[in-house]
């Protein structure tokens, strides 16, 4: 009998084009997503060497990092950003790659539109010059971020040179408590294993709490695998996955659909498959979670306090905590719910799907954004925006005092004009709380969409369970 294999090993084995004696493999890449920031030098490289894009039909491009999320009638004001987006457009034309540009309603954050279009499917290898490509692992696809040199390599050859990763299984048993979402679960996981805990691994998420998530929740979890150091996260596909994909523009049709589903059903780790590392959490132990510092591992339950560097495990860690607290302007012992915020950002490839926006609307309905807060909602794509408007979510949010904006990466990384000012404190549904990430001197607290909405209303970090007693979370 064949050796039991993990989901990762099955996908890997199915994509080996060539294996060298030392174990280095040439791996076939089924889907390649492209955006304006990490691709210009790759296309330039092709041009210089007189090479073509090997499989334009496996490649899909959009502009997301630089695009304005306010009024787009006058295009992009910043000349460098404008040139970068124009360059993408010219490159896509020259190399015959499909592009969802700024004027296309399918435009949006690259990791939102891939799944939305059904371009992302189980069992595929998917890459993009963007670390949050791990998002697509929610479909049981092996998806990971690459640098620009590798973008060029994939464009030219539709393959990558790689060695297999180690495997880690993270099982979350039981059911999530009310008010606790996929975002809280992944933040708690990063807090447990650390920001380098997944380095060298592909993480497979398992257990009842993961199985019970919507595709949106699964994407949120896989998205932040990179914040735990893992290039890829995986969740085995199931009926939830198939139901999500059915009928989407790039999804298989007719007889191909049945054939595809039959194959997708084989994409489960075999009983007895061995992982290099196993981690287990209980869903019941996870509370709504926020970050206090400048690394995604700096997490604490919303009911907790700012930790004290005196309690750090070693001198390096203590120095890092002291630096983080100084940057964040926080004092050890402060209750998390006593921290006021200036800005609330709801968006990013982590949390800008329709389910996320429904959560925000549910908390904000009939309430008002606090006077001290600027609250922005940036939908993940033109289609998410359209749907939210059709469902009345936009009306609810605008009435509550939220800004309703155009799709893009926006303040997650502040490449466009959506940036924090020095010293401003932000409750953000994004993925990174690094120094300067959302703007030089800006202070970021990562949290779930529902928690962000609660912070917007209260004007400070707050426990969403005090706002929505008894209501069951949609994104969970």
């Amino acid at each position: 009998m064949a050796k039991p294999r993990t989901l990762y090993e099955k996908i890997w084995d199915d994509h080996i084009v060539h294996r060298a004696e030392d174990g280095t493999c040439l791996i076939y890449i089924d889907r390649h997503l492209v955006h304006e920031v990490t691709s210009p030098q790759a296309f330039e490289g092709l041009r210089m060497a007189g090479r073509k894009v090997r499989s334009p039909e496996r490649t899909l491009a959009t502009a997301d990092h630089n695009v304005p999320t306010a009024n787009r009638a006058h295009g992009i004001a910043d000349p460098e950003s404008r040139l970068q987006v124009q360059t993408l457009s010219e490159n896509c034309k020259e190399f015959c790659v499909t592009l969802y540009g700024m004027d296309d309603k399918r435009q949006g954050i690259v990791h939102i539109i891939g799944p939305e279009q059904g371009f992302t499917q189980p069992g595929m290898t998917i890459v993009c010059g963007d670390s949050h490509t791990s998002t697509h692992g929610a479909f049981g696809a092996l998806a990971f971020g690459i640098g620009t040199s590798e973008v060029e390599h994939v464009l030219a050859t539709q393959t990558l040179i790689m060695k297999p990763a180690k495997t880690m299984r993270i099982t979350v048993n039981g059911a999530l408590q009310d008010g606790v979402t996929a975002k809280d679960m992944i933040l708690a996981i990063i807090g447990k294993i650390g920001t380098a805990g997944g380095t060298g691994y592909v993480i497979e998420y398992a257990g009842d709490a993961v199985r019970g998530l919507s595709m949106a929740g699964r994407m949120t979890m896989c998205n932040m695998s990179i914040e735990a150091g893992a290039r890829a996260g995986l969740i085995a596909p199931d009926e939830t996955t198939f139901a999500y994909l059915k009928g989407r523009p790039f999804a298989p049709k007719g007889a191909d659909w049945d054939k595809a589903v039959a194959y997708w059903k084989t994409l489960q780790s075999d009983a007895g498959a061995a992982y290099d590392k196993d981690v287990v959490l209980n869903a019941a132990d996870i509370a709504p979670t926020v970050t206090w510092g400048t690394s995604p591992e700096d997490v604490v339950p919303i009911t907790g306090i700012v930790p004290d560097p005196k309690d750090a495990a070693d001198a390096n860690k203590r120095a890092a905590m002291e630096r983080a607290l100084e940057y964040m302007g926080l004092t050890p012992g402060t209750k998390m719910t006593d921290i006021p915020v200036d800005v609330v950002f709801i968006g990013s490839c982590t949390n800008a799907r329709i389910e996320d926006l429904r959560e925000v609307a549910r908390v904000a309905e009939g309430k008002k954004v606090a006077a001290n807060v600027r609250a922005m909602v940036v939908p993940g794509s033109g289609l998410v925006k359209e749907q939210a408007e059709a469902e009345g979510i936009a009306t609810t949010l605008i009435a509550a005092g939220f800004e309703w904006r155009e799709p893009g990466c926006s303040m997650c990384l502040g490449m466009n004009e959506d940036q924090l000012k020095p010293g401003q404190r932000c409750a953000s549904t994004s993925n990174r709380n690094f120094e300067g990430r959302q703007g030089r001197g800006g202070r970021t607290h990562l949290l779930s969409p529902a928690m962000a909405a609660a912070a917007a209303i209260a004007g400070k970090l707050s426990d969403v369970r005090d706002f929505t007693k008894g209501a069951k979370s949609d994104a969970a």
Binding site: G147, S149, G229, K259, F434
Partner: protein
């Protein structure tokens, strides 16, 4: 790609853990469509004040580290985004080698594509090199021998043989892969039959 064999140079100490790619090269410099010219913006927010004036206490603003070619740093160096602008900025400044206890996967990979050698040493060995770097001593990194020489100490390091060969010879990955174009086509034909929807 410029080959990497052996380097003796000034090593700049950066005793921080989790140095992320936003620190190495902040987002406002990612709007470029070129690979070059990022060296002046390397570590921008740590290196310059808000008016753009160099901060005297930042290591790369002080001699002899302003012409360092080796960077010594804490664990999980290069975490965060996949931006290859991070190794491009390091290279453009003049760095050819980083020494740290561990790296984020994507950054580590990106280094090799740009002729930068990321050396992994144990924490206590990095601490020793860090001390010598702080004293302004030259450090030698010998890739063929897989040895770091710092002061009178020598530390052996591991290196994947394929990556080593590519760095020493400055090999272009794409050229190597295109030699297998026929094998790629065979794979596509086989999979096209088995998984027609892909």
């Amino acid at each position: 790609m410029k080959p990497f064999t052996k380097l003796t140079a000034i090593a700049a100490p950066l005793p921080l853990m989790n140095v992320d790619t936003d620190m190495i090269i902040p987002k406002q410099f990612l709007r470029t469509i070129k690979r070059t010219g990022l060296g002046q913006s390397l570590f921008n927010d740590m290196r310059y004040d808000e008016s753009g004036k160099p901060k005297a206490d930042f290591v790369l603003n002080r001699a002899p580290y302003d012409h360092a070619e080796i960077l010594v740093a804490g664990e999980n160096f290069g975490c965060g985004s996949s931006r290859e602008h991070a190794p491009w900025a390091l290279l453009d400044f003049g760095f050819r080698c980083v020494i740290a206890p561990s790296y984020a996967d994507i950054f580590y990979n990106n280094c090799f594509k740009n002729g930068i050698l990321p050396v992994i040493l144990k924490q206590e060995q990095v601490d020793a090199v860090m001390e010598d770097a702080q004293a302004g001593l030259d450090v030698t990194v010998d890739l063929p021998a897989q040895i770091v020489r710092s002061g009178n100490r020598e530390f052996k390091f591991d290196m994947d043989p394929f990556r080593k060969r590519c760095l020493i010879n400055g090999l272009d990955d794409i050229g190597l892969t295109l030699e297998k174009a026929g094998t790629i086509t065979e794979y596509e034909n086989r999979i096209g039959a088995e998984r027609s929807w892909v």
